[in-house]
Amino acid sequence: MTRAITSDDFDAVPEVTRLATGERGGLPGVQSEADAPPNPDELRDDQVDGPELSARLAKTWGTDQGLIGALSTVDHKIIGRRYIVTAIIFLFLGGLSAVAMRLQLAQPESTLIGPDLYNQLFTMHGTTMMFLFGVPIGEAFAVYLVPLMVGTRNIAFPRLNAYSYYVYLFGGLMIWVAFMLNIGPDVGWFAYVPLSGPEFSPGKRADFWAQMITFTEVAGIAVAISVITTVFKLRAPGMTLDRIPLFVWAELVNSFVIVFALPAVVTASAMLILDRLVGTHFFNPAEGGDALLYQHLFWFFGHPEVYIIFLPATGWVSAIVVTFARRQAFGYIPLVLSLIATGFLSFGLWVHHMFTTGLPQLGASFFTASSMLIAIPNGIQIFCWIATLWDGRPVFRAPLLFVIGFFFIFVAGGLSGIMLASVPLDSQVHDTFFVVAHFHYVLIGGNVFPLIAAVYYWFPKFTGRMMSERIGRWHFGLAFIGFNVAFFPMHITGLMGMPRRVYTYLPEMGWGNLNMLSTIGAAIFFASFVLFLYNIVSSARRGPLAGPNPWDAGTLEWAAASPPLPQNFDRIPVVTNREPLWAHRDALPVVAGLSVDNREQIVSTITHGRADLKESTPEPSIWPFIAAVATAILFIGSMFTPWAIVWGSIPLIVALMGWFWPKPSMEDER
């Protein structure tokens, strides 16, 4: 299946019957309005061409000026951009809390930060990185890129998508405002009971944590469902399952993992907040509850969470490796199957977080085996990427450098993961800095390095300008060195017995020098992010213009302008190859006949990607924003009185009715 790309490579467009279903919309024997002939007065894109078509479509699909317009937008690119920027701001906030902790730990018996603030800091760090950065960043890129890469004009359910962004934003703001007011959570990012329960954590701190979960998970599930539906139903005609870009596959599998994993943490946090606020006894052993029930529910989400963070990164890596290796992916099918296998296996590992809770031996052995098993699909992916680069003609630009950094760091983290899968070793180093070192190698290696690569890679698409390559190389050097100097010594401090989540230690323990080294590394790593931020800001203003396809990449987002116009494509592309822009270098095959004056896009079939319907998609609306505000009032109010669920639901119902009720002028929209 895989082969080198030559310049005269041109894949023939199949006959129309393989590109369109030709079926009626109404059920058999029914005279349906769906099959009514199109309104002859409505302008269609087979009647206009060129700049006039672009301008008219941009008007139809555009976002209004002003604050109301900005809050009403349903453009996946605008929402996606906000999602990405917000998630990266949370990455920086999480990073700053880490820097504060590293300063405190630099030397023994430091008095810079007291134990109470330190508890809040490590909780905010973990919570922010996992829930406000780790999950949303992958979805944020999906919101922006998936519709472009599958060749459509907007995400499925664009109002739901807008709503989810605001809910996520309000949840993140809520917990950070609470932290600023010294009521930030202080019970660790997983908020174990009984510590987080009503007896040991009176006050509101743990409630803020639990309710932040509700916010972010509602948002996360809503986006995941929009992404799944976009990939299933809105693909460009001709994009059969085996022509879906690997990035889109990764986001699809990721969305499925989100749909099935996030309900577990919502259940856990809902039970926790009920125990705290209305006196239920889910986790109270005195009344028949059980603390380990919380751990099971939490980790049934918590382990897939690792893959929710990692899977989008594999998508970024696949896209970048293919473009810079200048050949199609080696082992496309094994790569896709590995993604799916990883998605399934990620649900079978959760108990390895609980090896020290006194499990039956059979259970421990089973989860050891499954933990080692998941290394197989991940290994396959790594080998496929290496083979792609090996057989290609790699161009070592900044995105590829960060991908190579990812290979080294992630594999090192994977190796310490194999060690931790073994119960005896895990019992020994449980809750020490060895574990901290392991998961930062996995998470920063597996997500942050690919993320930076992705920002360098897609920045020209997002902004129309290139980032500085020279600063990019310095950035990579500082980040790679800083990261390893910060986190490698933690393996050793952990083996020397230093526990996690302690705000200080005694000089006699002998951990001082290694901790100082880690703090120096953290400072270098921090500097690399300052450079990154500088590169983003200065390139957005003054970077060289990019043009639609600066890397000469093969996937459809590069067929749109940089940055894309509101309609993404003037006409919906027709796909004949996995890398459509490499297959069609002279002219892009397209579908015509869609409305120019109304928001229409192609709905296609799941497996063969045959065009089936020309369906209209929602206009902008302020109601999703209002619904998100009402949701925030309900969620925050319910931390103070359960009655908020009753009175808080009234504005929410009103907002939802406004959302779904058609506007007088616009008929067929939802």
């Binding site: 299933f232 006894h281 213009l545 089936d612």
Partner: protein, 214 residues
């Protein structure tokens, strides 16, 4: 680099189009799995179904931890819950009719079916309130009471959501918006109701019958 007469920046020019397919005559909506909304509904049913499955798992976990069950309370009464279950099962028929008449784009019958479904929903809500009064345990009495109320609360949330959705759709069908794609929406609304009924069956058995068999 890509071909093209004028080469602006490094990234080349926009590709010209060659039209290979025309969508002019394609239908503007369809029914069931051909419609994106159907997949969205399925997605939410999957996520919420996972929530039900986890809550049921938590119930069995607590049974396993405690051994004796139900904890210091008699099993909940069968009368209201069984009546609720019967009405739910009976609602499958008008629900099916709503879906069918929606598919036929028959406005008068669709209106009738939706009114029936709205009334049934409100009756069920009334029965649910009676049902909650005959559980013999409060949520704050012990873990058994907590998980019982949790399961019923979760299901009530879905019940209320679907009733709200049905009533709004019913109102919509009595306005001038009641045509075209709305008929497809009736089918998706009916589809969600099937989920609400299907998720009730295991909960009913678990909450009302399991404690009698244990």
């Amino acid at each position: 680099m890509t071909a093209g007469p004028s080469k602006p920046p490094a990234g080349g020019a926009m590709l010209p189009h060659s039209i290979v397919l025309n969508a002019r005559q394609m239908p503007s909506y369809a029914y069931g799995h051909r419609s994106p909304i159907w997949w969205g509904t399925l997605g939410f049913a999957a996520a919420e179904g996972m929530g039900f499955a986890l809550a049921i798992g938590a119930y069995f976990y607590l049974v396993f931890i405690n051994g004796n069950w139900p904890l210091s309370a008699p099993a909940p009464d069968l009368f209201w819950s069984s009546l609720f279950t019967l009405v739910m099962l009976a609602s499958l028929w008008p629900n099916h009719m709503a879906k069918r008449n929606g598919g036929r784009e028959d406005l008068a019958k669709s209106r009738r079916d939706l009114v029936i479904m709205s009334v049934i929903g409100l009756v069920l809500l009334g029965l649910r309130i009676m049902e909650l009064g005959s559980l013999h345990v409060r949520w704050d009495q012990n873990a058994y009471g907590s998980i019982l109320w949790f399961l019923l609360g979760l299901h009530t949330l879905h019940l209320v959501t679907d009733i709200g959705d049905t009533i709004v759709l019913t109102a919509l069908m009595f306005t001038r918006h009641g045509h075209g794609k709305r008929f497809s929406d009736i089918g998706d609304n009916a589809f969600y109701w099937y989920f609400v009924v299907a998720s009730w069956a295991p909960i009913y058995l678990l909450v009302y019958w399991f404690p009698r068999w244990w």
